[in-house]
Amino acid sequence: MKYLVLILCFFSINYMISQDMLLEAESFDDKGGWVVDPQFIEQMGSSYLLAHGMGEPVKNAKTEVNFKKDGEYKVWVRTKNWVPGEWKAPGRFQIKVNGLVLENTLGLRSGWGWEYAGAVQITNKKNTLELVDLTGFNGRCDAIYFTTSDVEPPSSMKKLATWRKTVVMEPVAPKVTKKYDLVVVGGGIAGCAAAIAAAEEGLQVALIHDRPVLGGNASSEIRVHTLGIYGNFERILKKLDTEHYPNGSPEAHKDQIKRDNSVKSYENISLFLNWRAYDAKAVENKINYVDARQTATGERIRFEAPLFVDSTGDGWIGFWAGAEFSYGRESVDKYGEEWKEHGELWSPKQPDNAVMGSSVLWRSYEAEQVAQFPEVPWAMPVARDYAKVKGEWQWEFSRNDLHQIDDAEEIRDHMLRAIYGSFANAKKQPENANRKLEWVSYLVGKRESRRLVGDYIFTLNDAKTGRTFTDGVVEETREVDVHYQTVLEDEKNPDFISEALFYKTPKYYIPYRSLYSKNINNLFMAGRNFSTSHVGLGGPRVMRTTGQMGAAVGFAASLCKKYDVSPRDIYTGYLNEYMDLIEKQKYTPIPDSKK
């Protein structure tokens, strides 16, 4: 556990010396039933602990805290009421110090900020601290601050960041630096495939992923099955993909074990699970390093490499490094992507910021006995009278005032309200008396966010015409499938349900030039953040296809290393060798003993 005791004179007005300590909730020794949620660090400032109990209070999170000085401490907790309104806050919790519950219930304030929990008399060096969940409905605790001063810590994001740095006294740069041939950020199917392909060609690879398990949307935490074809990379992708089980199925666990073991079997892949990148520095259009932080302990590492892969899905590495990117829908005329039959739903006359939405999958089961589910008045404005017992891919949310990255927490929370509300409605039906929630994801399964711009922008027309490329490294036969929210057609529809439009295509190809950045010279991208138009993304956003992208850049990286060149040079100067290497992947390698 990491904590800091500081004797600081923060507040010059008071001229008081205060004894202060900031404890990050995610660093608790025993998290009990609370889970670490690192999805929204860029927006709200930190990983936090989430009481995701699907309506049943979770086990207390516990930790030991050492104080240097006895005295009365005021206890502040950074939290928020995730559905403020005319009802009891859904995510209420309390703080217990040395077995005594502090006076104020928490999780009541609107917007992230500090709530006063109460005062506590500290008389021993060693103390125990517990988070007591009261509802099981996603209470959240970011940090706990003990102070002898009377001043409330700042809530506004701007002031908070500076305050946190002062309190923690963290140096700007991580103390530890590690060097690799290739740094892959994001361990979804694309990132895993990139790491494996590069490792097979002998590169020393770092794979940084912010969750405990690999696979991203295909992982057992999100549970979307992989679709698409294997293309040239069947051997590698079979180590990573899933069966065609229904989305949300616990069968995802079987494939999870296969995937994690596959990646871990490569000695030259250094796997950083539960590490989330938070910065990338480019000088003269070349990334020098990526900084990452352990999502629970806060430990930091600087990753240096001549080449990087952005497979974060949200294009974070490119964004931090200053790579050109796009977001939203192009006008129908920009790339000529009209589909008359579906008009504006498919591609609008004027460009806009609409994108395909994010899903949160869930399911329930028939228990042997009658199961109760609490009233959830805070969920009903979203769910209205919709009643369901499970949620598939159609449970998807996007709205034009919400950005899939900047507002991801609100999007996730909207889906949680949709789920709990719809389930509560279903529970009122006699046939669902025994229904019990089995699993609700708390991770947002995104379909579309930033798309980094490469030397080539893949569009619908490439798919429609089956255009071939000399550098066509990814191939696909799956229809181009673009989603829209059904509420656009009828306001009576729930706003969290989508519909898919399928455009049938011949076999199509994605060129290598869509897989490296146009303006950041050592950055590859693989996954949904590759270089494509909004409609173009409709087909190849599925995970065998994104896996192909990953493998393609992994092999390209090996040639970059061999000739000490940049990704673009592979296209301009080493294409034949590269395409031969890709072609070779179709065949099972002959074992050394039989050569």
Binding site: P84, E251, K349, R399
Partner: protein, 371 residues
């Protein structure tokens, strides 16, 4: 499952000439007219109207039955209203075929809008049980769904048995498709549904749209714009020049208030610049702020910097309708007006101090930052 199309059909030879004969004239020689609302019909129907068949050059090719002509239905003033075709088609499953009779209707954009049963010819299921009322209604609903699962699947994909999961049995049927098919088709009549859907949504759809496009004149434009059919509104809006936007400004503002989100968002995104430069032209759209959907409100708020002060004041009465990001946009836009407009200031205070609003804290922080 394999489908067999039986080539020889008992009634085929006798039916086709009869149909052709009655195409535009009834048996007694009267001009053929549709005088009552089709039994299953999704559009508005004007009571007392008579629609007369007018031949087109289009037809639907039905396997083993030949071409079946498509007529336009026009008013007595020759204004086009619908397209229609009498369909007789074989439906075959497991080597057994029957004939299905339907009179289909499409709107002027080639979208299926309804059907009539053909007198004396009930629809039947595979086990020869006749359709009941709910089955006819379900068929209609299926045909109305232009994005039905039937569109993307071959018939044998719809009936193939899914592999059951080892883990939790029936709930885990591979893919969701089979459940989806069951929900959308008439039980026991998958083949009839499949055949009817593919006729209604076949190549004829695009052909009819092209036919209408060729006839599209100012009168038809006006008719579509005045219509309550959203796809007509959209089609007409899409054809408007800047001067026509002005000419129809009242109707466009009315549609904006009453139509579906998709049409509204199209309007706000495509209004000519002049509307945002002219107070009187933009105000009707702002006046609908409280009635329109969230997406449309966001698009309106993109124009807040072009809005006159009285719009900012009236939006201040609707702060509780705004989402977090909409509220932020609004606050950013009124920052300069807070001190000069007592009414805006009062609205902000009212909102921040009520304690009932989800995003009250944002206004509170905004007011604090101003101090």
């Amino acid at each position: 499952m394999k489908i067999l199309i039986v080539i020889i059909l008992i009634c085929g030879l006798s039916l086709m000439p009869t149909q052709k004969m009655i195409r535009n004239y009834n048996i007694d020689g009267q001009k053929r007219a549709l005088t009552k609302k089709p039994e299953y019909y999704a559009m508005e129907w004007q009571d007392g109207i008579a629609l007369y068949n007018k031949p087109t050059s289009y037809f639907i090719e039905v396997e083993t039955m030949g071409n079946q002509n498509v007529d336009m239905l026009v008013t007595d003033l020759q204004r086009p209203v619908l397209y229609t075709a009498d369909i007789c088609t074989p439906v075959c499953a497991d080597g057994e075929c029957r004939l299905m009779y339907l009179t289909l209707y499409w709107n002027l954009l080639g979208s299926y809008v309804g059907y009539d049963k053909v007198e004396g010819q009930s629809l039947t299921k595979h086990d020869h049980v006749e359709f009941v009322d709910q089955d006819y209604e379900k068929l209609h609903q299926l045909l109305l769904d232009d994005n039905s699962i039937l569109k993307r699947r071959k018939i044998d994909e719809l009936v193939s048995k899914p592999k059951e999961s080892d883990i939790d049995g029936a709930d885990a049927i591979a893919g969701a498709t089979i459940t989806e098919v069951k929900e959308s088709v008439v039980d026991g009549a998958l083949y009839s549904c499949y055949v009817a859907w593919n006729i209604a949504h076949g190549p004829i759809k695009e052909e009819l749209q092209e036919y209408t496009a060729a006839l599209f004149d100012n009168e038809l434009k006006r008719y579509m714009l005045m219509s309550n059919e959203q796809d007509y509104q959209m089609y007409a809006l899409n054809s408007l020049s800047e001067s026509e936007f002005l000419e129809y400004k009242d109707r466009i503002a009315q549609i904006f208030g009453e139509s579906i989100p998709l049409v509204r968002t199209y309007i706000v995104q495509n209004l000519p610049k002049l509307f945002w430069q002219t107070e009187d032209l933009q105000i009707p759209f702002w006046e609908s702020f409280a009635e329109v959907d969230i997406n449309t409100r966001s698009l309106l708020l993109n124009h807040i910097h072009e809005a006159p002060v009285n719009v900012l004041v009236s939006l201040g009465r609707n702060l509780e309708l705004m989402t977090k990001n909409q509220l932020k946009l609004y606050l950013e836009a009124i920052e300069k007006n807070v001190s000069t407009s007592p009414e805006i200031n009062a609205q902000l205070l009212r909102f921040a101090e009520s304690g009932n609003h989800t995003y009250g804290y944002i206004v509170t922080e905004f007011l604090e930052d101003l101090e």
